[in-house]
């Protein structure tokens, strides 16, 4: 045990002692300045009076002759009916929600719009466009749709949770109240709903069919659906100790499976990343090895037993943001080495999921680490600098060209396209 938990406990009082004083002397000047500033009228915030998917598409439509419109609609109906009949007799093959799949397009945000790019040819297509700020695209497990956040770029904290087909059709909001673009969310394995953690710490279910959202559980972080069925969700309690548990996706039958004892906790490390193995039998998570000041990856069984440190490197390391390979044989992660007291960022590390030494992949990222994703076939990793996901969410956000890293050889090449989001890779049926 170290003195660190005591230090963290005392830190708020220490900071208040150093920085907190009485009301600043500039209070009067400040209120005078706000008094001279005109408020924006409520009507000038588009999302307050129109559905957000409409506000970004305001345009004058030319008037069509009624007869021509009727004929066009009739033709369209025939085409749709034919398409439905064809699709009904040739159902599209979809990938299983977990495990290896064939590589599809990469979906990313840049300059406030969502794009897809073929990583082989480099050809890209806009999924969304317009004045709205679209961020954080996340492709569903079946590879057919993308969820993302949409804001107006003016009220920085006001975002809607949107879904769309990957071809850019059927764009619609499924949230009914403001959410933050820091709120983590994940598609259900069957693509019928999205679980989102809001800033109040509530876990909310947003239904893709537009049904009203439901609060599944309060004061809970979500850490993913358990493969292969996704019927169970791994959660972390916000209050009452550092505990992981399993519950049904509707919030019932919550059962703790693992707790970090109070003397072994570490703010900023515990459960920094938590991830299921693709077969649902193991869980990887962050915690502090007892008696150290490090933050390492641990792996345990799905029932919380046999927790053990994954990597054997003896340096003073922080290992975070890890991702299982699609076949579950490897884990890739960001890491910093503090052995010489300098927090040196290292290249992305990859280790066998059974443990052992770490192998470096690709170039050294920026000091904030990399945001990266495995390709669905597990052969490569797409990596972007962590700086691309920083504030502010606007068209002026920093962007960067991702690196595509070959996992087998470690060779990396720069993409021809730029992102300012986490890249999300579409999964296709093998």
């Amino acid at each position: 045990m170290t003195s660190q938990p005591r230090f963290e406990r005392n830190l708020p009082a220490l900071l208040e002692d150093v920085y907190l004083g009485s009301t600043p002397s500039y209070r009067h000047d400040l209120l005078a300045a706000t008094g001279r500033t005109r408020q924006r009228p409520a009507w000038s915030f588009p999302e307050r009076w129109l559905p957000v998917d409409i506000t970004n598409r305001l345009a004058f439509a030319p008037r069509l002759p009624t007869r021509a419109l009727a004929i066009a609609l009739l033709i369209l109906a025939l085409v749709v009916a034919g398409a439905i009949a064809y699709i009904g007799s040739h159902p599209a093959r979809l990938p299983a929600p977990f495990g290896p799949a064939r590589n599809g397009v990469l979906v990313y945000a840049v300059d406030g719009d969502i794009y897809s790019v073929d990583p082989v040819s480099g050809s890209s297509h806009a999924i969304t466009s317009g004045a709205a700020i679209d961020r954080k695209p996340t492709v569903s497990s079946d590879g057919t749709r993308v969820a993302f956040l949409r804001g107006d770029g003016i009220t920085g904290d006001a975002f809607d949770l949107m879904i769309a087909n990957l071809d850019g059709t059927d764009i619609r909001a499924i949230s009914t109240a403001t959410i933050s673009d820091g709120d983590p969310f994940a598609w259900s394995p069957d693509g019928t709903f999205i679980l989102l953690n809001n800033v109040q710490g509530d876990l909310v279910r947003y239904n893709a069919n537009g049904d009203a959202p439901v609060v599944v559980l309060r004061q809970t972080y979500m850490h993913g659906f358990q493969p292969p069925t996704g019927q169970k969700v791994l959660y972390e309690t916000i209050t009452g100790g550092r505990t992981l548990g399993l519950m049904n996706a509707d919030g019932t039958a919550a059962t703790p499976i693992y707790t970090i004892p109070p003397a072994e906790t570490k703010d900023g490390c515990d459960y920094g990343t938590v991830a299921w193995s693709p077969d649902g039998t193991r869980i990887a998570f962050n915690r502090r090895p007892i008696g150290t000041d490090q933050c390492r990856i641990f792996v345990m069984n799905a029932d919380g037993t046999r927790a053990h440190q994954l990597t054997t490197d003896t340096h003073q390391l922080t290992e975070t943001d890890f991702r299982w390979s699609p076949d579950g044989t490897m884990i890739a992660f960001d890491r910093w080495d503090n052995t010489v007291g300098a927090w040196q960022i290292q290249p992305i590390g990859v280790v066998q999921s059974t443990g052992g030494a770490t192998r470096s992949l690709g170039p050294t990222p920026v000091s904030d680490g990399a945001v990266f994703e495995w390709s669905p076939d597990g052969a490569s990793i797409v990596s972007a600098p962590g700086t691309v996901i920083q504030w502010p969410p606007s068209t002026a956000m920093p962007s960067a060209r991702p690196m595509i890293i070959d996992v087998a050889t470690g060779a990396a090449h720069e993409a021809t396209w730029s992102v300012n989001s986490w890249p999300s890779w579409q999964r296709l049926a093998p």
């Binding site: 003195s3 002692d17 004083g21 600043p24 999302e47 109240a177 972080y221 922080t318 996901i389």
Partner: protein, 187 residues
């Protein structure tokens, strides 16, 4: 009058209601800004910028219950925006002589204050922002992540670096090799 009513009135253009809301939080916002930007004048600019934005955009706030969180993130992001725009080392914050603690051993307490101040100075602004939001403004980590528009894992890892650096530099647990700046340089 409760805060929700004040927010509703301020949204309708009642500047006195807005002043009441400001009075309830100004001292703590100023403290957070000084912790992050390390310059009293710059902190004042950041707070002023954040509060002017808040007044201007208040009619667009959809959920009055989130006023506090919204205000905090406006001010903190004003701090980070100002630092990015200036791209220079800023004048270091001076410890206010008005806040000398009433601890029995004043010399020891002052030494602690200087140590924590020096240790915070060595941190990157993004790490200081996480410390300010979590430990000074009392925001839970998921809200910190939301305010800074970063994943919860990044918020946790930034806090981890910051705490490790502070703990060693403040000498709560002596170490033979003092930690250096985690994450790089001052903006």
């Amino acid at each position: 009058m409760d805060q929700r009513a004040l927010v509703e009135r301020a949204r309708q253009g009642d500047h006195e209601a807005f002043a009441a809301l400001v009075d309830a939080s100004l001292a703590r916002l100023d403290a957070a800004a000084r912790l992050i930007v390390r310059d009293p004048e710059l902190a004042r600019d950041a707070v002023q910028d954040g509060l002017i934005r808040a007044w201007r955009d208040l009619p667009g706030l959809r959920d009055p219950e989130r006023f506090d969180a919204w205000l905090r993130r406006l001010v903190v992001n004003s701090c980070l925006d100002l630092l990015r725009r200036r791209r220079r080392r800023v004048r270091e914050v001076e410890l206010s002589p008005l806040h000398i603690p009433s601890a029995p051993d004043q010399s020891s307490a002052l030494a602690d204050r200087e140590e924590i101040d020096q240790a915070l100075r060595r941190l990157d602004p993004n790490h200081r922002a996480v410390v300010a939001l979590h430990y000074l403004l009392g925001m839970p980590l998921h809200e910190v992540a939301a305010s800074l528009r970063i994943p919860i894992g990044t918020a946790k890892s930034r806090l981890h670096y910051a705490i490790s650096a502070l703990r060693v530099n403040v000498d709560v647990e002596p170490s033979p090799t003092p930690l250096q700046v985690p994450g790089g340089t001052v903006a």
